[in-house]
């Protein structure tokens, strides 16, 4: 039996009540190495949990362990934890280089080590000449990078990222997600990423944890929640009706779906029939793939309609 490394964050019967509101209700989970997505509605308890792990607020009852240490006597554990807030938090007057050096020192690094690590971290997060200019003049994308850099500069074992792609345009979003993947894969730092964008979580995370109203409602490998259903979706650019007819002739039951055709629970033999029907109907094939479950399905609106599953 291989030894699994001890989990990095552990919550046991964690409860937090403040101002009469039960923010966390007897929550227990463990987060290990890798990139974990933290999902849940606003007010579901995610930021409360993060604050408890960072030792900023004490739990009402239960225990929280970060890197094996109880968060109540956790001041020095913060030297090995990083946090990237969602909100603006960068000083506009300082350059990224000076700011990052300073943050490294505040985390306990001696000045010369702080300076070197600041320079390296800026390089790893893609900030080059601009690092000597005041942060006030940076674009949103650059500011997000600085925010991430300050969370990493002291070589933490674990970082908490709160909505890391907020405000970024599509290119910036892709770059930030790539940086996050790099943080785990190349830097060896594990990540807990809180996000409302399911696509971000699906592209980046190995595991997810879902909160609702202060309780833990789901947790597990990402693939448990995404993954193929037994329905195959066929999209063609023309001759759809011909294709449907050709399929029926071969004994394959088809239904109409938005933009294409669906075939339920096919067995292996049906694929050849599909291929032959495509050729016969001269239908240009754009897509043939099983419908996938989407993370967003976890959050169907109370109004009842669920978002279209992605093919």
């Amino acid at each position: 039996m291989t030894d699994t490394p001890p989990p990095l964050l552990v919550a046991e019967h964690l409860t937090k009540r403040y101002r009469g509101v039960l923010a966390l209700d007897d929550v227990s989970f463990a987060i290990g190495e890798g990139i974990t997505g933290l999902l849940g509605e606003n007010g579901a308890g995610k930021s409360t949990a993060i604050r408890i792990f960072l030792g900023l607020i004490p739990p009402t009852s239960g225990t929280a362990l970060a890197l094996g240490r109880s968060t109540s006597d956790a001041l020095d554990v913060r030297a090995r934890l990083g946090y990237m807030p969602e909100h603006d938090c960068l000083p506009s007057q300082l350059s990224a280089a000076e700011f990052l050096t300073h943050m490294a020192e505040v985390s306990g690094l001696p000045p010369s080590a702080a300076r070197t690590r600041a320079a390296d971290t800026l390089r790893h997060t893609g900030l080059f000449e601009e690092r000597y200019r005041p942060i006030g003049g940076y674009s949103t994308g650059m500011k997000q990078r600085v925010k991430l850099a300050q969370a990493l500069v002291h070589d933490p074992a674990f970082v908490f990222l709160d909505e890391p792609t907020a405000g970024l345009d599509p290119a910036g979003r892709e770059e930030m997600l790539a940086l996050i993947r790099k943080t785990h894969r190349d830097f060896g730092i594990s990540v807990l990423m809180s996000s409302h964008l399911m696509a971000d979580v699906e592209r980046t995370c190995d595991r997810i944890v879902v909160f609702r109203s202060g309780r833990l409602v789901q947790s597990g490998e990402l693939t448990t929640f995404t993954g193929d259903t037994a329905t195959v979706f066929l999209e063609v650019d023309s001759n759809r009706d011909n294709l449907a007819a050709a399929l029926e002739r071969r004994g394959v039951a088809v239904s109409d779906a938005g933009g294409g055709l669906t075939i339920e629970g096919p067995d292996e033999s049906v694929y050849d029939a599909i291929r032959d029907a495509l050729v016969e109907a001269e239908a240009p094939l754009r897509r043939m793939a099983p419908r996938r479950r989407a993370l967003a399905d976890l959050f169907e609106a109370t109004a009842g309609t669920s978002p279209a599953g992605r093919s």
Binding site: N42, D169, Y271
Partner: protein, 307 residues
């Protein structure tokens, strides 16, 4: 099908000194949901501000319902605008805020209008709490209620879903669909392209101040037949398929993934779409999965931005 456009832009440019924020943009906006897309700094916010009359154009005209938007107070009653960043008054309750906007907008029966708007955004339970106690998503929804309270015919929303959780996002999409079906013209600026893809029938892509693409997303995609097109194919004989596929004129390159799928690069989508099943059939190879990798709005967008 020849419906009059609700908003028309004609040769619109806007510059600030030597900085050209918007350059010679012309398009029509019709009822329904139109997505306004573009990288940060491309000129979308400037365009939105000109479209609702807050900023003047340097050249060109913008008309709404046939009238010029600039310096046209009666027209503003028919427009609702929700900007990206706005401070709200923390000390007010949600209801007070919406009521205030209703009164500012000179709505005939403000209390009823406020009720309706708050109901629309599903915040009736929280309306009597101070906005300082709201979560980010709730603040956004209340701001949206305030934007809708005077039942505008045109809605302009700049990143309205900042901070909204998934459930709120779905709810919001349904709300927009309902409004659009009811005849409201909605212009929506957002960076979350997968949502815009689901919401907007028409998109406008602004790059460096210029209009890079407009219209239905699928039509735009089809019009870009010269862009590189990657298709990932899972089959029961990947290498044999790869070898065979290289014989096709429409194929430029084939990559083999470690997990056994092949990725075909082509510059001729139409031909490849027809030839692939044919080739598989004649080579007696079973196809399991065919997935275009560049089909999303995000990919089309990325291509147009890079161009």
């Amino acid at each position: 099908m020849g419906a009059e456009p609700i908003i028309r832009l004609d040769g619109v440019s806007r510059w600030y000194g030597s900085v050209v924020a918007v350059s010679d943009v012309s398009f029509d906006i019709r009822p329904g949901i139109t997505g306004l897309l573009g990288p940060n700094g491309a000129g979308k916010s400037t365009l939105l501000r000109m479209m609702n009359g807050l900023a003047a154009t340097s050249t060109g005209t913008i008309t709404m319902f046939g009238e010029p938007v600039r310096d046209n107070p009666p027209l503003y009653r028919r427009i609702g605008v929700m900007a990206e960043h706005e401070t709200v008054y923390d000390f007010m309750t949600g209801r007070e805020f919406v009521l205030m906007m209703a009164r500012l907008r000179q709505v005939a029966r403000p209390a009823e209008a406020a009720d309706r708007a708050i109901e629309l955004v599903d915040l009736a339970d929280a309306q009597h709490r101070r906005m300082g106690t709201y979560s980010r998503g709730m603040r956004q929804r209340m701001r949206l209620a305030a934007t809708l309270v005077h039942e505008p015919e045109v809605l302009m929303l700049d990143e309205p879903l900042n901070g909204a959780d998934p459930r709120q996002r779905v709810h919001f999409q349904q709300l927009l669909h309902r409004l659009a079906e009811g005849g409201t013209t909605i212009v929506l600026s957002s960076h979350i392209l997968e949502e815009v893809e689901q919401l907007a029938g028409t998109v406008l892509l602004i790059v460096n101040g210029k209009l890079a693409a407009s219209g239905g997303f699928r039509a735009i995609r089809a019009a870009l037949d010269q862009r590189p097109y990657h298709v990932r194919v899972v089959s029961d004989a990947p290498r044999r398929l790869a070898a065979a596929v290289l014989g096709l004129e429409s194929v430029e390159a084939v990559t083999v993934d470690p997990d056994g799928a092949i990725v075909i690069l082509s510059r001729n989508v139409r031909d490849l779409q027809v030839e692939l099943p044919r080739l598989a059939q004649s080579s007696r190879i079973g196809l399991r999965r065919v997935e275009p990798l560049d089909d999303s709005l995000e990919s089309v967008f990325g291509y147009l931005v890079e161009r």
